[in-house]
Amino acid sequence: MRVKLCSLSAGEVRRRLNNEGLCLSLANFDISVRSSLPQLARTLSLLYGDYPLGDDGGFVDFCIEIDSPSLPRRFFHPQVNFSCDQHFPFKPLPIDQAFAMFEWGLNWVIANHCHQFAIVHSAVLEKGGKGIIFPGMPGSGKSTLCAALVCRGWRLLSDEMALISMVDHQIQPFPRPIGLKNNSIDIILQFGEGVVLGETAKDTAKGNVAHMRVPLSSIEASQRTARPFAVVFPRYQQGAALDLRPISKGETMMKLAENCFNYPVLGADGFHCLASVADCSLGRSLCYSNLDQAIAALDTLLRDGDT
């Protein structure tokens, strides 16, 4: 049994972040995080408390640092920088976006390095052994629906990216805090019981952003892959009647390819992987305005979809 982050004192978390790095074991990735920012230590402890720690001195997949770019920037309009293995892919952001930057940066790291997977920009949830991939552009309501499904007991594999194995086309879990934006923050607070959110980062490039803690059950199941059962393209539209309708396997394939971060890197192997997923899955478009109705329709899809 591996030690969890929540078993460390706040002081020990800060000490590790400031020194050798805090090693988190996130599904199949061990990530070392270094930072001198107390607010990052607090939010990591709150939202990653149930995750196991990596082995001391063990292999680390990625070394991430989140810190102020220079001493003056700690005091004047303080900013924060993200680096991975000494590489700085982004411009600095205001310091109150430190945790959001950690999340966005980690997404970038995985999408740009882990080509053993076809990585599709999507949420992935599972129930009863059936995985649903929810690709969606920003603003489609993907994360809100994802958080709502989690509140109703679905297992979270990812809020942001489907990691589809190039070998067996199963989905590798990578459950991490769910990024909620703007109105979705209050909607999910009211929708679910016991929802835990980190601090809201205001006025980011995506508006106000807060991250929701992942249920323990999803973290504990993060070694269990899921088979793709359906690919559902969600679209939130205020006041719209629920509309869940089939789309062709061909359209499903093309949309998967459009949303696949590393499709250009994977070449024909990526094509065959995504075509296989499209061929074996039910393709659906989902227009919704009411979360309970959308969840009921998805439950029905899981129950009756393959009959």
Partner: protein, 98 residues
């Protein structure tokens, strides 16, 4: 497009393109350009007609006619549009039979 032009599937089709039938459509991956294309079921039917044989536009129209409920003019417009679409993807080559 002239009456004497005949179309055939490019000779290196199977080397250049990876393909995956998806129900009655066909997904193609162009290994040279990295582009992915979706061929509609009706365009797949035209490709099937061209399998191993070069055919003119008139020949394609005649062979398609028994399978569709459409006027000659509509079939001709469909064949022209489909050939244009398949040529843009790089699936067809032209030879002049004159």
């Amino acid at each position: 497009m002239t009456a004497s032009e005949a179309f055939h599937i490019r000779h290196d089709f199977s080397q250049r393109f990876s393909k995956q039938p998806l129900d009655d459509e066909l997904a193609l991956f162009d290994t040279l350009s990295g582009e992915t294309h979706l061929i509609s079921s009706s365009a797949v039917a035209v490709l099937d007609l061209l399998n191993n044989n070069a055919k003119t536009r008139d020949m394609l129209c005649q062979e398609m006619a028994p399978y569709v409920a459409a006027t000659e003019q509509e079939i001709r417009a469909f064949i022209d549009q489909t050939i244009d679409e398949l040529q843009k993807i790089g699936l067809l080559e032209i030879e002049d039979c004159a």
